[in-house]
Subunit: 138 residues, 2 copies
């Protein structure tokens, strides 16, 4: 059954990809998950934890953990929102800003490896198919 094979291939890709990222990030003293959060902040600084939870597809307590450890490492800073004391706004520190480029290099090299040998046409096709699948999961 082709559907089963696709499920299995996706599983293999997920697992190996995650491990590969994890290994690469270790050289930057980052753990997996932290890279996503930092890069999200590099797009838009001062985002709330709820917004991070939404856009990174993980639960609020997970974000709280990640934010806490990144704060401990000095890569981000947290400030209470002026208008709403329930809200934390999260900012990249100077140290955090410096790590964005290396992280993106890791992403680049990982995606190059993953997509090696695919033609431009195949990439377009693949993107379309993945988009359909991603929509199916909403």
């Amino acid at each position: 059954m082709i559907e089963n094979e696709i499920r299995e291939l996706l599983e293999v890709i997920s697992v190996k990809k995650r491990r590969s990222y994890s290994n690469q990030l270790r050289a930057l003293d980052l753990h997996i998950g932290q890279d996503q959060l930092l890069c999200r902040l590099s797009q838009q600084d001062g985002v709330t934890q709820s917004q991070l939870s939404e856009s990174l597809n993980c639960e609020p307590p997970t974000i709280a953990n990640t934010v806490k450890s990144l704060e401990t490492y000095g890569l981000i800073e947290r400030k209470r929102d002026v208008n709403d004391a329930r809200v934390n706004r999260v900012y990249l520190s100077e140290k955090g800003k410096k790590i964005i480029a290396p992280v993106k290099e890791v992403w680049q090299s990982e995606q190059d490896k993953l997509l090696e040998g695919l033609t431009e046409e195949e990439l377009i096709l693949l993107k379309g198919l993945l988009k359909k699948m991603a929509n199916n999961l909403n």
Copy 2:
């Protein structure tokens, strides 16, 4: 950049898929990861932990943990190999055998959801592309 979009889509799919499986498996009193191991055993019983580690793409200590908890739940049994006292061979228990069908139903419904709306032609294409990507990760 299309490569970046593909990386992001894959990430979204991985994360949501995993969560969705996890939620479905909860109804069977299973945790994610356990399903893979059980179904591997249903293909070939009496496999060693090393072989499981190899075929499930995870590290030996991870297998040891999963095997231990499945043994505690009475879903599998472990026996020392007769010829090599270092080796554990892992077998499905009767209770374990009974859970295979429900697990495969979960997999089926999950993959149906994921691949909904894709034509036969697109499935073939997708499989080919995923295979290339999986090979790139070796």
